[in-house]
């Protein structure tokens, strides 16, 4: 794992001291809310519906047991015993008190954590593939490059006051586990024919009220030129991006309005100017950062562990969890374990302080003291011995975290929605809870196969509804909660933006409507087809006529 050097440590501590002074001046009345707001946002602190909310960064989603224990302590001491994992590998606390936030941040700094770059119009916390360093299909460990981007972006003087927030994600695989194509910049590590490492650069993706799939701006930026290329993109965005309307200020709008060819030409021109500058990433610096992400001391193990096979045979529940949540590791005898934070009927992404502490202990015992957060609001133990999966599963079951539903209908993304968020139009979490109960039968979930359901409580789309195989968007219809259904989206390598299927459903009827969609899929599906593939094959029409039969009658 990355460890702070003296510069990092001083910087984070100085930031805490600075913010302590700002909070004191706010509380004493020297600063108005208007003056304070941008300062608190630079430190991840929002004022939400019921209370302040602090968003803590987990750079590229990797953190240690010590850090997890500190998060548990913070949940207990400064919050109400819970944390909430977000869709950008961060964790949020929903009830901190303003006067205590400086102490909270000082405690975070003790374990090399902070809330910088989790809000405001800056380059946000860089995200990465949660399987980085563990999966066989990657070109390189994406966290190394995420950390290099992190160091370049933190406090970058030119990009601290952008027109709007700017999100970067890094992956190193053909399989997209980091929603690369829906980031302002998405980076995919590649090897060229000469065997050199570089980046395929996607620009202008995003969700929100104007969802866009990113465009490939460069097929191969050599690794040493990564930062100069990023700087060129950011500079062009900062120069030409709109500032007259915050809803048109993201780079996706600039790409859309300017056109790819023209904007690419501007980026290339800028890049030519700065490519051979101090932004060249030196090999020794890459090596230094790489050393922080050195593989843990794996044992030489057989690819097949007999006791594991026996346990699976003897215990169908364990076998189901392995099928559902455990994936191949690049080292023989190891596996990647997904820990679902979507137990039946509970808020997606929520975790109690007790569970945090228990997971910290389990990570120490079973996964080299390391935990990953995923954008789907789950956690990952990246390096677990096959021979220890059964014990780990038993221990997870004891703390209610052995739900085998990864990628299934109940593994939903849901934004905090109107239960917490000041921007929301409708609630998202209670709807997720109702759906989770409706589809509680695991046999049914496994029969349905991969089905990505994503729920947002407003058009800002924090719940990624546009890229759900099925998406639900909460809207306010004359003071009542309604939900629009979109079908056919995907945030993965087969990226697509879902289409709105028709008029919204009331809160009372939306779960039945969802069930109609899923039942029709079961009727139409060929063999073991995924929902998304069936939808792509048959199109929207059958789903429309199932959901809105009265319209069909009217047309006849």
């Amino acid at each position: 794992m990355y460890r702070y050097d003296e510069f990092d440590r001083n910087f984070v501590n100085e930031r805490v001291t600075e913010f302590r002074g700002q909070v004191a001046r706010r509380l004493s009345g020297e600063m108005s809310e208007e003056e304070f707001r941008p300062l608190r946002l630079m430190n991840g602190l929002y004022l939400q519906l019921h209370a302040y909310m602090l968003r803590v960064a987990i750079p590229y989603g990797t953190f240690s047991s010590v850090q997890m224990r500190k998060l548990a302590h913070i949940a207990r001491t400064y919050d109400r015993g819970y944390g909430h994992f977000t869709t950008r590998q961060n964790i949020q606390f929903n009830w901190p008190k303003l006067d205590q936030v400086p102490d909270l941040l000082a405690e975070l700094a003790d374990v090399e954590m902070h809330a910088i770059q989790t809000s405001g119009n800056c380059i946000r916390n860089v995200t990465a593939d949660p399987y980085a360093g563990a999966v066989a299909d990657e070109v390189d460990d994406s966290r190394i490059w995420a950390e290099i981007v992190r160091q370049w972006s933190t406090l970058h003087p030119e990009f601290t006051y952008l027109g709007r927030k700017f999100k970067i994600a890094v992956s190193a695989s053909d399989f997209d586990r980091a929603v690369i194509r829906f980031h302002d910049i998405g980076l995919i590590l590649k090897k060229n024919d000469a065997g050199e490492t570089g980046f395929q650069v996607w620009v202008g993706g995003g969700l929100g009220r104007t969802p866009m799939i990113g465009k490939v701006f460069n097929e191969f930026v050599p690794q040493q030129d990564l930062l100069s290329y990023l700087e060129a993109v950011l500079r062009v965005y900062n120069m030409y991006g709109r500032r007259d309307n915050k809803y048109k200020a993201r780079i996706k709008i600039l790409v859309h309005e300017t056109g790819i060819d023209e904007l690419k030409a501007k980026v290339e021109a800028e890049w030519r100017e700065i490519r051979d500058s101090a932004l060249k990433v030196p090999d020794d610096e890459v090596a230094r950062i790489r050393s922080y992400f050195a593989p843990p001391p794996f044992e030489q193990l057989d690819a097949i562990d007999r006791s594991f096979e026996t346990k699976k045979f003897e215990n169908p529940e364990f076998a189901r969890w392995v099928t559902g949540n455990v994936v191949a590791h690049r080292e023989p005898g190891y596996r990647i374990v997904n820990i679902s934070l979507k137990p039946e009927g509970l808020p997606p992404g929520d975790i109690t302080a007790d569970q945090m502490e228990d997971l910290a202990d389990l990570a120490e015992t079973y996964s080299f003291d390391e935990i990953r957060a995923t954008h789907e609001q789950n956690l990952v133990f990246a390096h677990v011995k096959q021979s220890e999966l059964f014990e780990l599963w038993q221990e997870l079951a004891e703390i209610g975290l052995a739900m085998p539903n990864i990628g299934k209908v109940s593994d939903m993304i849901a934004c905090p929605g109107l239960d917490y968020c000041a921007l929301a139009n409708a609630r998202a979490i209670p709807l997720a809870q109702r759906i989770s109960k409706r589809y509680a039968d695991l046999d049914q979930q496994f029969d349905l196969g991969e089905l990505k359901l994503k729920i947002s409580g407003c058009i800002n789309a924090c719940g990624h509804h546009h890229v759900g195989h099925i998406g639900l968007l909460g809207v306010d219809r004359r003071g009542e909660e309604y939900y629009q259904i979109t079908l056919g989206g995907s945030g993965a390598e087969d990226a697509a933006i879902g289409s709105i299927i028709g008029p919204a459903f009331s809160s009372e009827t939306v779960v039945d409507a969802l069930e109609s969609v899923i039942s029709l899929f079961v009727e139409l599906r060929l063999d073991k087809e995924r929902f998304l593939d069936t939808y792509r094959r048959v199109g929207a029409a059958p789903f429309k006529s199932r959901l809105y039969p009265e319209k069909l009658d009217a047309a006849a």
Partner: protein, 117 residues
């Protein structure tokens, strides 16, 4: 009959508060002062804005409420009901001290704020 109530978030801890008759800020909507739209409301908004200047609250504004048959105060908009009653997702976060608040942890199906009261 609908009335107005003034609400805000308390500066120090961010929690939802309501302007009470004695000019203090109460944690519970049940202690809020019921106001008539017009000069009565406008006068109290002046006081509420002064409380913002005095760094007691952030962003005061008025909301519409109805009095229920049992005399409880209920916001008209569901957004304001969630603010007044707490999140509907955790029973232990909901305002159980407020009669008629809805808790939903055990049974998440009847979670509708609409038409209740």
């Amino acid at each position: 009959m609908t009335r107005q109530v003034i609400t805000a978030n308390r500066l120090k801890d961010g929690l939802v508060v309501f302007l009470a008759e004695d000019g203090s800020w109460a944690d519970s909507i049940l202690d809020a002062q019921l106001l008539k739209a017009g000069s009565e409301l406008d006068n109290r908004l002046v006081l509420a804005n002064a409380a913002e200047q005095a760094k007691i609250v952030v962003g005061p504004y008025e909301i519409e409420v109805t009095e229920t048959d049992t005399g409880d105060i209920r916001p008209v908009r569901y957004r304001e009901r969630i603010r007044a009653y707490g999140p509907s997702t955790h029973a232990d976060f909901a305002r159980q001290d407020i009669p008629g608040h809805l808790t939903h942890l055990d049974d998440v199906s009847p979670v509708y704020f609409n038409g209740v009261g």
